[in-house]
């Protein structure tokens, strides 16, 4: 599904990812944890194609294709979805208008017929239930005036409508109260299926009580320094990251 090999990326000449390796198989849920500044969000943004980051070395294969050569919209049409850490407010563009444009862009790229207004609304309304959003929110401007929790739920909602193959969740849990966290996690769990993979980037172990990952990776200084199963997350919760930084000296790349 996704194969990241020796990925190096920088922003404004400052290297953030320094040789990252990661393989994700179909249907797997991987979690990436790490301290502030370790490169978690950079990884998420690079996978989505944000051009403020420069990839200086390495490659990323997605379903056998060179992901890094694809435009952000091509990646989305090919099934890559990024749930933004900070969803962007877009005044004047209402949710249904925006989502219909997105759904139809994806459908068009697959050679499918575009949805008309009626069919689209049926789909859009049906999916609101997954994250417990009132369907009236479809008439609001994208993220404008949304609370933090609404913004995150909106990200998961868009994922439910667009049905990606690879979903990258960038700190979708940050800033959520426990109720919102449960709703978001349940939304993700309902979308888990054999041919859909997840990369869950999180700062806190708490989310992983609700979204149980198959693999947990620890990112320090732009490299994965430790990988394991869900028990690694619990260990991190108790011990923090300091022991890892000591153990690896920030140099060693641990295999799975």
């Amino acid at each position: 599904m996704l194969d990241i090999r020796n990925l190096h990326a920088s922003v404004e000449g400052h290297e953030i990812l320094r040789g990252l390796n990661l393989k994700i198989g179909p249907g797997e849920v991987h979690s990436i944890m790490g301290p502030n500044g370790s490169g978690k969000s950079t990884l998420a943004q690079v996978l989505a194609g944000r051009d403020t980051y420069q990839v200086t070395a390495g490659e990323v294969l997605y379903q056998g294709r060179n992901l890094l050569e694809m435009e952000p919209d091509e990646r989305a049409c090919a099934g890559v979805f990024l749930a933004f850490q900070y969803p962007v407010e877009i005044p004047g563009v209402n949710m249904s208008h925006f989502l219909r444009a997105a759904v139809n862009a994806v459908r068009k790229s697959r050679g499918e017929e575009e949805l008309d207004a009626v069919d689209f609304l049926e789909l859009a309304r049906a999916r609101t239930e997954i994250v417990g959003l009132d369907e009236r929110f479809l008439g609001r401007s994208v993220n404008e005036g949304f609370s933090g929790g609404e913004k995150k739920r909106n990200e998961v909602y868009q994922m439910a409508v667009l049905e990606p193959t690879l979903a990258v969740l960038d700190e979708t849990d940050s800033g959520l109260d426990i109720d919102a966290l449960r709703i978001v996690a349940q939304g993700v769990n309902r979308l888990r299926q054999a041919d859909r993979s997840f990369l869950v980037v999180t700062h806190y172990q708490r989310l992983l009580n609700y979204i149980v990952p198959d693999f947990v990776h620890v990112l320090v200084d732009g490299r994965i320094v430790k990988s394991g199963d869900k028990s690694l997350a619990l260990h991190l919760e108790e011990q923090g990251y300091a022991w890892l930084e000591k153990e690896t000296g920030g140099e060693v790349t641990a295999g799975v």
């Binding site: 989505a48 194609g49 944000r50 051009d51 435009e71 952000p72 919209d73 990646r75 989305a76 049409c77 979805f81 990024l82 933004f84 969803p87 962007v88 877009i90 005044p91 004047g92 563009v93 249904s96 208008h97 925006f98 989502l99 219909r100 444009a101 997105a102 759904v103 139809n104 862009a105 994806v106 790229s109 207004a117 689209f120 609304l121 008439g139 401007s141 868009q158 667009l162």
Partner: protein
Amino acid sequence: MIDTKDSTDRYQASFQQRETALSAAGQAWFLPTRQAAMSRFGELGFPTTRHEEWQHTSVAPIARTAFQHAAGVDAAVSPADVQRLALPGGTSARLVFVNGWYAPRLSDLGDLPAGVRVGSLDETAGRDPALLEPHLARHAAFDDHAFVALNTALMQDGGLVYVPRHTVVERPVELLFIATPGAEPRAIHPRNLVLVDADSQVTLVETHATVTPGDGAAYFNNPVTEIVAGDNSVVDHYKVVREAAAAFHVGTLQVHQFRSSNVSAHVVSAGGTLVRNDINALLDDEGGECNLYGLYLIGGEQHVDNHLRVEHARPHCDSREFFKGVLDGRARGAFTGRIVVHPDAQKTDAKQSNMSLLLSPHAQVDSKPQLEIFADDVKCTHGATIGQIDDEAIFYLRARGIGEAAARSLLIQAFAREALAGVRIEPLRRRLEELVLARLPEANLLQETA
């Protein structure tokens, strides 16, 4: 350097040719005004950019072109053209003018409430001077505005709309001005007069269009509209500028408001090489409300100048100005918003906002608020922003599969439509949104869902 004398002489000649005919048509009563305006135009000449009110707009191309006075109605306009350009949905009356002359065969006087008069201003001037005499050319001053002077001297025809007391005209009155290309470049001077008595309501849609939008032939359209809004009246005015690509449009809207009247005016500029919209409102008694909205979308070498003057002469009046522009290519925009608050006009509440979106590094906007406040208990605010497309928003949209061109279009559309939110005629709002969409790539992805 423009030879001012030569450029004004041409119009003097047109004027002399018309004088005799006007007397014969029963318009002798108005001749002295025309003569005064003509001689004032001769004194003023065309303004240059040294003139403060014309600092950002050079009318040199108008001054140096030998425009011919538009002769009679051109038969080249068909009912199908009218159908295409006209306001969709119902109107209570539609007057069509071709090159500034009334075209009865293309017009529809519809079904109007008792006492309402909608018709040719020129015909009314011959038949009913008593109705026009107190108003015509008494609101739009020509002593310091060359183009208003020129229009007043050479005015051809346009709509006369009179709404008596206690009368609501439910559906809009449409004034459709259609220009046709000619062998010689034409000058067109349409003139509208709208008189709304107390407790009445009317909506006007004034469209300036052409049968051949992409045609390279230049013409010069110089319309003036005077609106008198009586006590407690409600008047909505929409001006849609869809001139041909090479056309010049210099228009004035002059509004005179009385007690507790409510006037809103929209101007949407989408076609023409040079468009100047002067919009002047005088709030002449207490409780008046004046809302002015504007939108333009231009590219290439197009130039749009919106020049507003709102005068608060009496207390307790509100005014709003909300103008937006989208500029691509080497287009230039200008906005001047002068708000004058007289010493007596306490409790004035005036708000002004001008926002521009630049799509190209070569586009340019000059935005100039001018507040002249001579009262001490007033609220006046103004704000101007000039921005570019938000890269973060583009990335967000692209990350959902929307291509770059469509993402840009979506954001431009969102920016523009805010200026159309106040359009109260649903079919017109849709038409204007289509005009916006037509200028954007990938528009098929952007159709509304509901």
